[in-house]
């Protein structure tokens, strides 16, 4: 049975407890898929077998098969697919942020913990500002402590 289809995404509900999701790897990265899968491992068994047609197939089988006192409501497979889909989009967006900012992040960390001071940038403009210079809490003063050579 075909569940839902969208650009790069198709789901097939196999039973009340299982489904397969097909993803286009040109749209969804492996990293985002694996990260999304990880967060659903508490409620489902997830397998990603080799797929012959180039798509990524995610086989899902819900863990809970009968209602219990603690969990009287069984998860619905359609809901699971919907949540999974949202989560996948979030992780794809997160991957984009990560890709765009990874080197920046490293630089910030290096600067934050560098004791040498060699990584500090000189602030643009001039610090020949007598008004700012007089304020002990001014940005000029703060920057000075990080830009002056190590004593």
């Amino acid at each position: 049975m075909i569940g839902a289809a969208a650009d790069g995404f198709k789901s097939e509900v196999v039973s009340n407890l299982s489904a397969t999701i097909y993803l286009d790897p040109r749209i969804y990265s492996r990293e985002a898929i694996l990260k999304a899968c990880y967060w659903f491992t508490n409620v489902a068994y997830i397998q990603i077998p080799e797929s012959p047609d180039g798509r990524i197939a995610i086989q899902i089988r819900l863990r809970q098969t009968v209602p219990t006192l603690e969990e009287p409501q069984l998860e619905r497979i359609e809901e699971f697919i919907g949540e999974f889909c949202n989560s996948l989009l979030d992780f794809e967006l997160r991957r984009q942020v990560e890709t765009e900012t990874a080197s920046l992040k490293q630089l910030i960390l290096a600067k934050a913990f560098s004791e040498s001071g060699v990584l500090e940038d000189e602030p643009p403009g001039t610090i020949a500002d007598p008004v700012e210079n007089r304020k002990p809490t001014s940005l000029v003063q703060i920057m000075k402590t990080f830009t002056s050579p190590k004593e």
Partner: protein, 499 residues
């Protein structure tokens, strides 16, 4: 000296696009998203904002654009030298790492007159020699403690009931003070005691040596006495009487109380809180029960589902806020720690919720027999036969041995939530922590599995709940939060709001 400015066109915005700075996001209830940058500054925005931001669809000149730019989620060609500023903020947030181990817990005896269900380590024995720390071991422990590079160290006496080994305390205090003074370190001393055996002489000694007291109060008599059995079943009555006596001798501010939550406590959050108010305490820590030692063995008596604890916490916090609104200053300590991380540039040195984890890095435990553990929970595990987090022994291991040994290095490999699966993408990462010892105890490995972790669920739920409260735009509520953060009264906090 002349003032030199860039030409005016340097300050006008160009039409070029913007670039992203590191941040994370997650969905909140009620169609909102929480976006948090690398240094913990946040924006709560309508659903879809993160997507628009990442896809570079924000319009220059819009309020949301200005907000993201000001809070350093994005940068454009008119941004100030933001990398240094971000680095400085990052360094401030992680300032608690500086100096390394600051809290040093000395287990001077395992003997205790109580037999609490949740206690992992106490022994009811009169045999002094077996479970008391010897003077020689105490001396070696002080020596090791003072090797810590921290300029300000705290020495905490624990047990068992440490006042049962008061001679050991009296041996350690002058020794530690002399060593600290010689090394130019500041030294705080705390004793964690049930006060049942505290004589006036002991209390005068603590006063004269400027030692603080942390005692246990689990709530009103029917909860406290049920949780903390002792001969005569009078722990509550003794505690109340002794808190008053200790306050008279040491001074009001030198006596603090901590509660432990059990199955019984879960039904009575307001009664417990009202008991703290009745005794004129101005802070209470709604702590979950730790999954260690006898606490695991007696699960039927003390065990409970996490959801029950979270309900208890929410009900308790609501009651506490109500009390504050009515004019009584009472801070909930866990919320205060989280709010400090959320609403200020600072981190906190709270060892149970930080990254890198506090174990070893910010706290060391010196057991009565000279064994050194990464945390109090580690030595409780050891009492159950699991010595994974025994880092060494004061007689056989140097400071260097301990911090370069396999047990410590294994521990730190799972100590940073920045690099743990599930945590690395989490928007709450700057406010949360890592707890490899909890993971090891509850899930069998130090890295843990976030989707099934109670540590993760508990902290995510509480942090999200605090964000719900923050985003209500209730100015009185924010004044209460800032009063907690600043350790001041509500009337002293004139105005406040999220940064």
């Amino acid at each position: 000296m002349a003032r030199v400015f860039y030409p005016v066109e340097s300050y006008s915005a160009s039409e070029a696009g913007y670039r992203l700075l590191p941040f994370r996001f997650l969905r909140l209830e009620s169609n909102k998203e929480l976006l948090v940058n690398q240094v913990g500054e946040f924006v709560v925005a309508p659903f879809g904002t993160a997507q628009a931001l990442i896809r570079k669809q924000l319009t220059r000149g819009s309020d949301i654009y200005a907000t993201f730019k000001a809070k350093q989620f994005i940068a454009d060609d008119s941004s100030s030298p933001l990398l240094d500023l971000l680095a400085t903020k990052y360094r401030t947030k992680y300032g608690f790492i500086e100096g390394f181990t600051k809290l040093h817990i000395f287990v001077v005896t395992l003997r205790c007159d109580h037999s609490c269900h949740y206690c992992q380590v106490s022994r009811q024995t009169a045999d002094k020699s077996t479970y008391d720390m010897s003077y020689e071991t105490a001396g070696k422990s002080v020596e090791l403690m003072m090797k810590s590079p921290a300029r300000h160290v705290t020495l905490e006496f624990q047990g068992g009931e440490p006042l049962l080994a008061f001679d050991v305390i009296r041996y350690i205090v002058p020794l530690a003070k002399r060593r600290a003074e010689a090394l130019g370190k500041d030294l705080d001393i705390v004793v964690t005691t049930n006060l049942a055996n505290a004589t006036d002489d002991m209390l005068f000694y603590l006063r004269d040596e400027n030692i603080k007291i942390s005692t246990s109060l689990d709530g009103p008599a029917f909860i406290h006495n049920a949780n903390r059995p002792r001969p005569g079943n009078n722990s509550y009555e003794l505690t109340i009487k002794n808190i008053e006596r200790a306050r008279k001798i040491l001074g009001y501010s030198k006596v603090a109380a901590l509660m432990t939550t059990t199955q019984l406590s879960l039904q009575h959050p307001t009664e417990i809180i009202d008991e703290y108010v009745r005794l004129d305490f101005h802070s209470i820590f709604l702590r979950p029960l730790s999954p260690y030692g006898f606490a695991v063995k007696t699960k039927k008596k003390t065990g409970y589902q996490l959801d029950n604890f979270l309900n208890f916490y929410r009900t308790g916090l609501a009651h506490i806020l109500q009390l504050n609104r009515a004019g009584y200053n009472l801070a909930e300590v866990y919320a205060k720690i989280l709010l400090t991380k959320i609403l200020t540039p600072d981190g906190t040195g709270f060892v149970d919720l930080q990254s890198p984890a506090g174990a070893g890095i910010n706290v060391l435990v010196y057991n009565y027999d000279g064994d050194v553990y990464a945390t109090d929970e580690s030595r409780m595990l050891a009492e159950m036969g699991d010595h994974t987090f025994r880092l060494g022994n004061v007689w056989t291991h140097s400071h260097k041995d301990i911090f370069t040994g396999d047990p410590f290095l294994n521990l730190v490999s799972a100590s940073c939530n920045q690099s743990l699966t599930g945590c690395s993408d989490c928007a709450l990462q700057p406010y949360c922590g890592a707890d490899p010892i909890y993971n090891h105890t509850t899930q069998g490995d130090i890295f843990g599995h976030r989707p099934t972790s109670n540590f993760c669920k508990r902290n995510m739920t509480i942090i999200k709940y605090l964000f719900d409260l923050i985003s209500k735009q209730d100015s009185e509520l924010m004044r209460i939060f800032f009063a907690w953060i600043q350790n001041s009264s509500l009337s002293e906090v004139s105005k406040a709001g999220p940064s």
